[in-house]
Symmetry: D3
Subunit: 135 residues, 6 copies
Amino acid sequence: MKVSVCRKEHFNAAHRLFNSGWPDEENEKVFGKCNNPNFHGHNYELIVKLSGEQDPETGYVYDLKKLSDLINKFILEKFDHKNLNLDVEEFKKINPTAENIAVVTYNILRKEIDNKYDLKIILYETERNYVEYPA
Amino acid sequence: MKVSVCRKEHFNAAHRLFNSGWPDEENEKVFGKCNNPNFHGHNYELIVKLSGEQDPETGYVYDLKKLSDLINKFILEKFDHKNLNLDVEEFKKINPTAENIAVVTYNILRKEIDNKYDLKIILYETERNYVEYPA
Amino acid sequence: MKVSVCRKEHFNAAHRLFNSGWPDEENEKVFGKCNNPNFHGHNYELIVKLSGEQDPETGYVYDLKKLSDLINKFILEKFDHKNLNLDVEEFKKINPTAENIAVVTYNILRKEIDNKYDLKIILYETERNYVEYPA
Amino acid sequence: MKVSVCRKEHFNAAHRLFNSGWPDEENEKVFGKCNNPNFHGHNYELIVKLSGEQDPETGYVYDLKKLSDLINKFILEKFDHKNLNLDVEEFKKINPTAENIAVVTYNILRKEIDNKYDLKIILYETERNYVEYPA
Amino acid sequence: MKVSVCRKEHFNAAHRLFNSGWPDEENEKVFGKCNNPNFHGHNYELIVKLSGEQDPETGYVYDLKKLSDLINKFILEKFDHKNLNLDVEEFKKINPTAENIAVVTYNILRKEIDNKYDLKIILYETERNYVEYPA
Amino acid sequence: MKVSVCRKEHFNAAHRLFNSGWPDEENEKVFGKCNNPNFHGHNYELIVKLSGEQDPETGYVYDLKKLSDLINKFILEKFDHKNLNLDVEEFKKINPTAENIAVVTYNILRKEIDNKYDLKIILYETERNYVEYPA
């Protein structure tokens, strides 16, 4: 049977939720306080989960130190202490909801991690709101 | 691929575990301290998880503010600061174990949430004891 | 300089807040949901803190295993899985607010612990509400 | 002896750390990633602690529901889902470090709470960085 | 539908990661700080999850007090306050990675728990590194 | 009034509690499971708290990035992934109880931090056992 290994990292970022094709009142109605044009922000907690076979020589599925280095290089360098809307290429066209941040994170890391591993992203925007991708 | 979105809420309640068809000694033996006829209580942490497609206009699977409002209206109004055995209709005939509280919560919310979303309930009775429904 | 050592324990209990000398409407107004006559309940997290000199032979201020045993014997045996109002002598005359539970706990443990140690009680009623005695 | 009662609330905000009288290189050197001109953000956890005598009628030092309402009205309404630098009058002239957010919070609440209570602010900017005022 | 019930326990242990068939430099390169020949250690958080049908008489899937007793008898007695490499038979031939501790725990408990229940192990080695078996 | 700033770090280490001047039975009696000659271990959570005046130019009491660097250089380099009894000079003559680890940490950091700051160490050995120095 396969084993899953999980690594938790965090980043702090500002963002604003809105649809640039909508009038202000519609954005205000749908996104409420999250639509503040001056941005607000979060401490995001990011969990990356890999599932696969154990290496019989090491007992590891994947070295979590290497997974941490990958997340730092490809995700935290882009997102940490940034304004997601203004500083991150991927969110110039899509809304930086927790769902979309998880999907973008998945798509970036999927290219860096061998397909023999299943990949899942769990992202806490606050202690009470979190998302998982794939479901 | 689908995305899951999760909202955590909490409520405080009193309860007693017992089977009204059993003699006292049997209830004492099976339910131990949880069978105290004068009740005891918990801070319950409730997580409601919905899985589905993202709305392309908003980037949301489901607005977590609306999900929080639903949970407050249909669950917390019934359970919070209540005696589950005496004050809540659903537990007048069934034992308010964590398993049954999760099933009752699922059955109530399932009627309020479109069937295009998968629904799952995670309920912490204490930091060390929790249940999930469906499994 | 002195060192403090702290031990965290927990108990689950039901309670109701009210002043038996007041009319119902006054209790309802002052204590709100906490005044439910059928009780509600909490997972209480209790921290007992002792401050004193280290024993030069052991490096301990106080053996935390012994402190845990004391708390279990004198506090958890009385409070855990109980109805504080109905089952606990100390709360038959006083209201089981978090403040009073902390004061009662202090008074019980103060008799069991040598006066060469300073004693402090920290009690979490919920994750968001907690009290300390002495202040 | 006095008792302390504590209420924890949270808010999400964007901010940027810098001294407007300094050249960019100096701000970059001193504040590093926190100096991003496009802002970043945090989930702030705010604990407000009051110490005083218990009311003999209620057993309360201070009704934590009322304390929560005060914090919501005077602090969260100003800070939650805001850009501290751009949206909050108090931080137009001072740098929104955790230290200054705690001091500003103290000064606002001190006017709303009777001086018979000692007041203390504990503010978590991240799980690993927090401040207390007064020390 | 089935319900899952989960019980969390903890144990403290020392361990060292290495492959006895490798030269020192290779162990140093692959396992880094975890290869310290004098050992290091962790507070392990262990969650055991059982999924099955509810007993219609009790409302339980499985009595979590009994599950706690099983984990204490078969796992904590072996692992708690031990050196996994030196004191635990199962790790004399295999490397005590988090993955292998989870697999060994699964194999021991699988024999003690009726096959009508699905069994899953979740093991936190640190707050940031954890594993699940089966995946 | 002064402000306190706090930084939390963690390290993993093995240790054994015993008094080298005592016979085995006495060590066994006093230190119980913690006396295992093969060692056990913990994930230690270390909080370093500095209290002082704010710098009027920055709004900081002390740059927490610098405090983190100091703790890493002077404490984590010595303690992390080590056997406290065998690998750390300071514990060759004194018992590595949580109390003594806090005192040793204080004494090392006191030399690195200007005396205009008050210094306090808070050390969690487990989630349920922690110490503070000075008291």
